[in-house]
Symmetry: C2
Subunit: 389 residues, 2 copies
């Protein structure tokens, strides 16, 4: 059976060159980068080269602004909890948005429930976008940190990060962005954006799983989230995941060299898929912003059907998609992001996210456009909602 | 130049079979185990098989008692902070020991300094061992958790975990053990030991870096430490590091099948190395317990010299050792573990840890015994302390 992987928002295939770069660090240069001997120093050379690659991809000023973590979620936890706890004498108010990833939302909720912080959750418009005016209005005397994602993992909407960061800076509020979906698939420049902290994750752009990084602008004070050894200048305890870090560095290098060409290619495939769905299937709701959008993200709701049934039917044709975030799978609730854009529960339940990467090809788009209308029609025929309409 | 790696307490070489098991999960079965499609389900099969292997190695009752983490340090943080925060209504007193790894000590200190807990740090005897009587005496009405490591990472001393866990259970105190150095190199049985939580780390026994696990006995309530998606039954957010988890599972399988044969071999090499050093070098202090000891751990202090100089000289001969924990490297303070056993600063500074694994061979032991006396002698000749003596 043909296999078409369109769930790159959940995770991507590791690039063969990334794996190749990692391999010597499993079997030969397996030392601990914190060790003084030759094995350790070889490993250290590797991790510091990788740090420099991360720095270059996001245009940080200094490699020491990069803290390696065990993934994007840990980076979000470190940014938010680490900053909040280190700066809570200055105030206990945080600002975020209702469409953040759970790595951000649940961290904010924990600080609210357990640590005496208060949190403002900014609303979004029908595209899932936060407004800078709302943000400015939400800032209080005791606001210390704002955290707004750059590209939404479900509906692909890009937030006006540069504008939001400028407001934050004017008001003396530290600004973090969860850029897990953006880094590696579109240009990201922390200095141009003016953000103070930024989270990224290797496996979202053909690096390995289990490794990410937090950019922290020099001068920003934060507590470690994982307490332990003196690694990462005492900002993150735990033996360095050398092969993972090397892989992340390689993924950054590949992304830097191949953007913007790859971004253009992936965006073109995305637009073809969007048009193909709109032209061939009735009663669909296009989710997210039409232009301010992640290069690989396609998200629709198909009225009268359930996203889960759609996924299973697609899977039988070898097509891998998702109904939203993989991180909430197993839950019967509709996506908090779709509800926030104003969709009803009923419509939100029929969502399908197809997310593309540099490994997708045009014939795969054609294949999905060929298969999807029949699947949707068949499911609708079985739907009591559709019969009634 | 000959290369002899004897820093397996810091990290180990990944077993080639482990890497081989991981590889398909980078390039083929690269799906997110939380996804419903075929790519996801293949990945999920792999992670659940790995979970079962971890369960078997430590004899947990149920695979669901295993939570995958980004390493041993994160597992310690999850156990201690996660338990403390979830149970703080019942009391805010913790008990640990002065010889714990920093992953435990710094976590306890954070809870003490920032979260209103009080912590008792149990002393140790000259072997680095905690006494059950001291432990019993330290338990208060408001004690909710004790965390005592099973095998010391620096001096190799094994704590009387079974006895300590029994005291804890009798007094209604939850008991966690950091078994990062023990799991995979000696038999570990959570049910026989009677512990409620146990941390382990893949890279300490030929698994990959960046992955570990926390055993949590059914019924133990804890908050997640990394907030995010619903992974690991909402106990640890973040996309599963599938290849890492597969590698950890494979390392557990290999350890289970090869223990106790390998334990016996490594212990014999250790004893030969200890004897070789004692027979050939004067004025040495043997650190740790002579019998209750990790199979691969050798630790001596060489009077009148600095551990760092010794390491560098050994490195020139291709021998990789350490002066203590890799996690504290860069610090000029002598080991907190050696000081706790009663050594003076001066003596503690001259420490050398040589840690063996299943990959070490007898001729490597011979090589070290051949080279080390001359190196020590040369350094002593340059030492003002030695001249005076």
């Amino acid at each position: 059976m043909k296999k078409v992987y369109m769930d790159n928002g959940a995770t991507t295939r590791t690039h063969p060159e990334v794996l190749q770069a990692m391999e010597p660090f499993f079997l030969e240069n397996y030392g601990n980068p914190s060790s003084v001997h030759g094995f350790g120093q070889e490993a250290l050379k590797g991790t510091e080269k990788a740090r420099d690659e991360v720095k270059k991809l996001i245009n940080a000023a200094d490699p020491q602004e990069i803290i390696f973590t065990g993934g994007g979620t840990e980076a979000d936890n470190l940014a938010i909890t680490g900053y909040a706890m280190a700066n809570r004498e200055r105030g206990r108010h945080l600002i975020t948005s209702v469409v953040e990833h759970h790595a951000v939302l649940h961290t904010c909720e924990y600080l609210e429930k357990e640590m005496g912080f208060s949190v403002t959750y900014l609303p979004v418009d029908k595209y899932g976008m936060v407004s800078a005016a709302d943000f400015r209005e939400a800032i209080r005397e005791d606001t210390i940190l704002a955290t707004i994602m750059s590209g939404n993992n479900e509906i692909g909407t890009l937030q006006p990060i540069k504008e939001l960061a400028r407001v934050a800076r004017e008001q003396g509020v530290t600004f973090h962005t969860d850029a897990v979906q953006s880094v590696g698939s579109m240009p990201v420049d922390v200095q141009d954006w003016g953000v103070d902290m930024l989270s990224l994750s290797g496996h979202k752009f053909h690096g390995p799983k289990g490794v990410g990084a937090l950019y922290v602008r020099r001068g920003i004070k934060l507590h470690p989230h994982i307490h332990g050894g003196a690694q990462e200048k005492k900002r993150r305890g735990g033996t360095h995941n050398t092969p993972g870090i090397i892989g992340l560095g390689k993924a950054c290098e590949l992304a830097r060299k191949n953007l913007p060409e790859k971004e253009k290619e992936v965006s073109a495939l995305r637009d073809k898929l969007i048009k193909g769905i709109q032209d061939n299937i009735d009663e669909v709701v296009f989710n997210g912003h039409p232009e301010q959008r992640l290069p690989g993200n396609v998200n629709f709701c198909f009225r009268y059907i359930e996203g889960e049934s759609l996924l299973l039917s697609l899977d039988l044709e070898g097509i891998a998609g998702s109904s939203g975030s993989a991180c909430t799978s197993g839950s019967l609730d509709p996506s908090h992001v779709l509800l926030a854009t104003g969709l009803s529960h009923e419509v939100a339940h029929g969502s399908l996210r197809l997310t593309l990467s540099i490994f997708n090809e045009e014939e795969e788009i054609d294949y999905v456009i060929e298969k999807l209308p029949g699947i949707v029609e068949k499911l609708r025929q079985m739907s009591p909602l559709y019969q009634k309409s």
